[in-house]
């Protein structure tokens, strides 16, 4: 069955980008908004159609979902044995990602029509959104690791453009720059990883790379470097690339700052889609990780676990609405990484993989919803700080209910989507690694606490004094919220294991009630603590804070990681490398050249006195030279 049409899914947004970009000033805002939304809507329909056709019409072949090349052409030939193709690869995870990306993107497009109304850069915003959608869809459909790198860079730049959307604000400019450079730094490792992998396997192609029989060949033939096999090196380097995009510790620093972008952007890029690209990448290459290198997988598990805890702790202390959500995103992506890290390949061992993808799916829905709600709230109250908000439940009913649903979902409240997916990750961790299991259990509690802290602080608590009376936002903004809220509950009931598993075989997942009850108890504890502390105004939070002053300050300042980076870049790279090089170039290299020129003119200056203009000096020189030469000549002639 042909999947050639799948190439249209990314191409439609690209065309939309080009049209809005070229007709930038001629297009009315309304038209641009509708144009962008319609094109992403068509991509959305095509994605649904792809999913239907792939899962239900094609279905399983020999018990597994086949990997289908929908479209493929040679883009660049590196050598006779290695060439980069562009195309679309249809397999369970790419189809799932298609659905996720187009759904969230569509919601965000619709939402943005209302959110961005009256903004000078309205058309630019939609052009960039289309560009992003194109890049992200291209990324998930990539057939090979080189293509994924191309789109990897493109989503990076779309994210740069969108974070720096309000480019007249210095903080936005700095944030966009930071986001791009940090991810670019990670991409360098990704690139080196690709170089290594492609050198030893002679292919970029995912299908042949992840073929279990090829992995074995690679293992036996590969050499080692510094005690680790080449495969492990390549995989670790690729993971660093993924960690950069997915904001894993210690490359997470860009994501909180990225909240400088408009809220719909945060919802789309920095919550639901681009930031999970790292998880997607690891999932894409999962067979190699699982079969080729245990070490790499363990690193992923520990990094994920640490990041989830670390970010969750910081999230408890932040006062900026979107930053709390940003740290929560980091923490949740940590969960997904943990899922992959504790997973094995095939059958029951592959539970973590399935759970991770499941969590990616549910998280995209409820986190996008959270950000869109945050956008609505900020849109209305014109501040980002939660201590300047409160009591909004009366003014913004729809936003309040949808936010509550999303919060329950992320907190792992039974019956909501987050509960199912998170629970499966924790179960997988329970079977695999007890340290990670307890960490994740703890994080589940912290998550519930900080999310409800946010919820109670913003929607309950004492009513803050607002400049304008808060009101519910317009329809284009509430409809996406309602749809996403519905999805945040509903997607949890999808029998996910039937569609996605590490080896494409059906995986029946059962709720492990022991683990589940533990996580439910932990979540409830978190919710109750938040309820006690923040539902009504009280001085209890301050008292607690002052009792753990040092810890709180550290967490509040994000453990000073930003400062470390700032020190490294400003002090070391700028002042200790770049400035000396600039100096060296001007004074040593250039100085050497000038020195040569100076020497030449000095020599000339010092011998020019010979040309005195005194005729008799010339004559003397002439005569004496003649005499000397004649004497010499005579002497030689006589002695011959």
């Amino acid at each position: 069955m042909s999947f050639q049409f799948t190439i249209l899914i990314p191409l439609i947004p690209l065309i939309s980008f080009l049209i809005i970009g070229f007709l930038y000033s001629k297009m009315s805002n309304k038209l641009a908004g509708i144009w962008g939304s319609v094109s992403i809507f068509s991509s959305f329909l095509l994605s649904l159609f792809t999913a239907y056709r792939y899962f239900f019409e094609v279905g399983r072949v020999n018990g597994v979902y086949p990997k289908i090349l929908g479209f493929d052409f040679e883009w660049l030939r590196f050598s006779d044995s290695l060439s980069a193709h562009l195309g679309t690869l249809i397999d369970p995870i790419s189809v799932m990602m298609l659905v996720v990306v187009t759904t969230v993107s569509l919601m965000v497009h619709i939402y943005s029509i209302g959110y961005m109304k009256g903004d000078r850069g309205f058309n630019r915003f939609f052009a960039f959104l289309s560009l992003f959608s194109f890049s992200m869809l291209g990324l998930v459909l990539s057939t090979n690791i080189f293509e994924i790198y191309i789109f990897w860079e493109l989503v990076g730049v779309s994210s740069y453009l969108l974070i720096g959307f309000y480019y007249e604000k210095n903080s936005a400019v700095a944030a966009s720059k930071k986001a791009f450079i940090v991810t670019r730094f990670a991409d360098l490792f990704f690139l080196i990883g690709i170089l290594i992998l492609s050198f030893y396997t002679k292919t970029f192609d995912f299908i042949s790379l992840t073929d279990p029989s090829n992995i074995a060949v690679m293992q036996t033939g590969s050499i080692t470097f510094m005690g680790l096999s080449v495969t492990t090196w390549a995989l670790l380097l690729i993971f660093i690339g993924g960690a950069g995009k997915s904001a894993m510790f210690p490359l997470h620093i860009w994501l909180p700052d990225a909240m400088e972008g408009p809220s719909p952007v945060s919802a789309l890029i920095h919550a639901a889609t681009m930031v999970v690209a790292g998880v997607f990448l690891v999932a894409r290459l999962f067979p190699i990780y699982a079969l080729g290198s245990d070490q790499a997988l363990q690193v992923i598990g520990y990094v994920g676990a640490f990041t989830s805890l670390f970010a969750a702790v910081i999230a408890m202390t932040q006062m900026d609405f979107k930053r709390v959500l940003a740290f929560s995103t980091i923490s949740q992506i940590g969960y997904m990484m943990v899922g992959l890290g504790v997973s094995g390949y095939g059958n029951e061992a592959g539970l973590g993989y399935m759970a991770s993808m499941f969590h990616l799916f549910t998280h995209a829905m409820f986190k996008a919803l959270l950000f869109l709600c945050a956008g609505s709230v900020i849109h209305v109250v014109h501040t980002n700080f939660i201590n300047e908000m409160g009591g909004l439940r009366k003014h913004m009913k729809i936003t309040h209910i949808t936010f509550l649903i999303a919060t329950l979902a992320i907190a792992g409240f039974p019956g909501f989507s987050g509960f199912f997916s998170k629970d499966e990750i924790i179960t997988a961790a329970y079977h695999n690694n007890k340290i990670i299991f307890y960490t994740e259990l703890l994080v589940a509690g912290i998550t519930a606490f900080y999310m409800f802290r946010l919820y109670f602080r913003v929607f309950w608590n004492q009513e803050a004094s607002y400049e304008h009376k808060p009101h519910e936002v317009e329809k284009t903004m509430t409809i996406p919220l309602i749809i996403l809220a519905f999805l945040s509950i509903a997607v949890g009931y999808i029998p996910f294991g039937n569609f996605i598993s590490s080896d494409s075989m059906p995986l029946e997942s059962h709720i492990n009630w022991g683990v589940a009850s533990a996580s439910i108890i932990v979540s409830f504890t978190g919710i109750i603590i938040a309820w006690v502390l923040y539902k009504k105004p009280s001085n209890l939070p301050e008292r607690i804070v002052s009792s753990i002053k040092v810890l709180y300050t550290w967490a509040y300042h994000k453990f000073y990681i930003d400062e470390v980076y700032l020190f490294v870049t400003k002090k070391i790279i700028f002042n200790l490398i770049s400035r000396p090089i600039a100096w060296f170039d001007r004074h040593v290299v250039d100085g050497a050249m000038n020195g040569i020129a100076w020497t030449t003119s000095w020599v000339s200056e010092s011998i020019k006195g010979l040309q005195s203009g005194q005729l008799q000096k010339y004559a003397l020189a002439f005569v004496s030279s003649t005499i000397i030469l004649s004497a010499l000549l005579i002497y030689i002639l006589l002695n011959v």
Partner: protein, 499 residues
């Protein structure tokens, strides 16, 4: 196709300009002449490809041999392969954009355009000839007008820069002529007559000692023009002082003469020496890549930033060439073209911005994107292309070079490759830094609020260049495979024959 047209048309244009009465006429003539040249290059590309399609497997096509000095067996031999065709295309694009970028060159306009076109003629001549003597003549023809152009129409300490640039390039020429003569006088070792013709020379197998002796002369001589570290210092001053079109042409095309010479003469004719002395120059090239990028971070003048960035990017060309395998060389030659267009775009935009703000110091500007959206957006695009974003030509070239160099499986090459690859991060740092400071943020100087956006000729100039980097970025296959890749085959055969 008669290749000499590529030299004749610029010269005819020069002749016509002699009779022009006003700047309107001058620039019109120049624009028409260079449009014809652009069309001619397009025709050349089409003819070349169709000739290859029909199975012509000669190394050089459209060969024409005109006797020059009979007693010395110096001929004026023309001929092109895919690589020179690509570079001729590049030159036409850049000079076309350059003419439009100097639309408002009011003072001494006739002389300016004449020098510019003579320079272009020299470059075209260099690319169409395949005998070293004519190449050298055209090389000199291209370098000399530079002095006049910078010395008269430049800005800042123009006399110093013009002098420095010319003297350093002349120093390079001195080394080149030694190398060329060395090759010439050894070309008879296998019994034939002494020759300057590349086709004949490539059949001669020079003794290894001769190769080892001549290679440094040729490599360093051409390397000066190709911004080989540490002989690159003419470039920042020269570019900073030169008028817009000259910077464009110089960074865009003239620097490629150096790398082309390295490729066509030094490496092609002396492969064993290139293999043996390669590591040393590779280290220099890598230093150039990283060093240029770091050097660019702390610069304050837009043109200096770009000049250092050119050092870094041109380092990558030499780096790729020295890897001596198809992928990397393919990438290096693509990088010549890509960097040529990209840096021309940069200099054009800087010139246009400077024409409005009268400063090039980034600290004195801010928020210009708001004031001049077209120029700002174009600068951002140029910046993104420069930092190797997919969809632009630079990405393809970089990837080819890195993948090519990674094919050498030893630690030395690996480390150099990784170092060279790290430049993509540093490039991102300085590009984004500069964009952040002078294009984004609030407008710093309220006088700048009154500035206007690009005029039609500026849009045409920048638009042409953007168009080409995007085309190459989106569909590099034609260039890397049909033009460059296939022409690399005979060259690689020779290089690899002796190893």
């Amino acid at each position: 196709m008669n290749l000499s047209l590529f030299v004749i048309i610029p010269l005819l244009t020069v002749l016509l300009i002699l009779f022009s009465k006003s700047i309107r006429q001058t620039r019109l003539i120049a624009a028409i002449g260079m449009s014809v040249q652009l069309v001619l290059s397009a025709i050349l590309v089409v003819l070349y490809v169709s000739l290859r399609k029909h199975g012509n497997a000669d190394q050089f096509v459209f060969v024409k041999d005109i006797e020059w000095f009979k007693s010395l067996n110096f001929n004026f031999t023309m001929g092109v392969d895919g690589i020179s065709v690509a570079l001729i295309g590049l030159t036409s694009i850049v000079i076309f954009a350059g003419v439009f970028a100097s639309w408002k060159m009011e003072d001494l306009h006739r002389e300016f355009f004449i020098s510019l076109l003579v320079l272009a003629g020299g470059v075209f001549g260099f690319f169409i000839t395949i005998d070293m003597f004519s190449m050298f003549v055209f090389y000199e023809l291209a370098v000399i007008p530079m002095y006049i152009l910078i010395g008269i129409w430049g800005t800042g300490k123009k006399e110093y820069s013009a002098m420095k640039l010319t003297l350093m390039l002349m120093g390079g020429s001195a080394l080149i002529i030694v190398g060329i003569l060395g090759l010439y006088f050894h070309s008879g070792v296998s019994g034939g007559p002494l020759t300057m013709n590349l086709m004949n020379l490539s059949k001669v197998h020079f003794p290894v000692e001769v190769q080892m002796f001549l290679f440094p002369f040729l490599f360093i001589g051409f390397g000066v023009l190709g911004a080989l570290f540490p002989l690159h210092t003419w470039s920042p001053d020269g570019h900073a002082s030169a008028p817009t079109a000259v910077s464009m042409l110089h960074a865009g095309v003239l620097m490629k003469l150096g790398s082309y010479g390295v490729f066509r003469i030094a490496i092609y004719l002396l492969p064993e020496a290139a293999r043996q002395m390669g590591p040393f120059f590779m280290v220099l090239a890598t230093i150039g890549i990283v060093y240029g990028a770091f050097g660019a971070i702390m610069q304050k003048d837009l043109k200096y930033i770009n000049a250092y960035s050119s050092v870094s990017h041109c380092g990558l060309i030499l780096f790729g060439l020295l890897m001596m395998n198809k992928t990397a060389m393919d990438g290096a030659i693509l990088q010549m073209i890509s960097h040529g267009i990209m840096t021309a775009l940069f200099f054009a935009l800087i010139g246009m911005i400077y024409g409005r703000t009268h400063t090039r110091l980034i600290n004195e500007m801010g928020g210009l994107l708001k004031v001049m959206p077209f120029l700002g957006a174009a600068y951002v695009i140029a910046g993104l292309a420069s930092l190797g974003l997919p969809g632009f030509s630079g990405f393809v070239a970089e990837m080819l070079v890195f993948f090519g160099s990674f094919q050498h499986a030893d630690l030395f090459h690996r480390i150099l490759t990784i170092l060279a690859a790290s430049s993509i991060v540093i490039t991102a740092v300085y590009i984004l830094r500069v964009i952040g400071i002078f294009l984004l943020g609030p407008v710093k100087n309220e006088h700048h609020l009154l500035l206007t956006d690009a005029t039609w000729w500026e849009r045409l100039s920048a638009g042409t260049l953007i168009l080409f980097i995007t085309i190459i970025g989106f569909y590099p296959y034609f260039l890397t495979n049909d033009l460059i890749g296939n022409s690399l085959e005979p060259i690689l055969q020779k290089i690899l024959m002796f190893n």
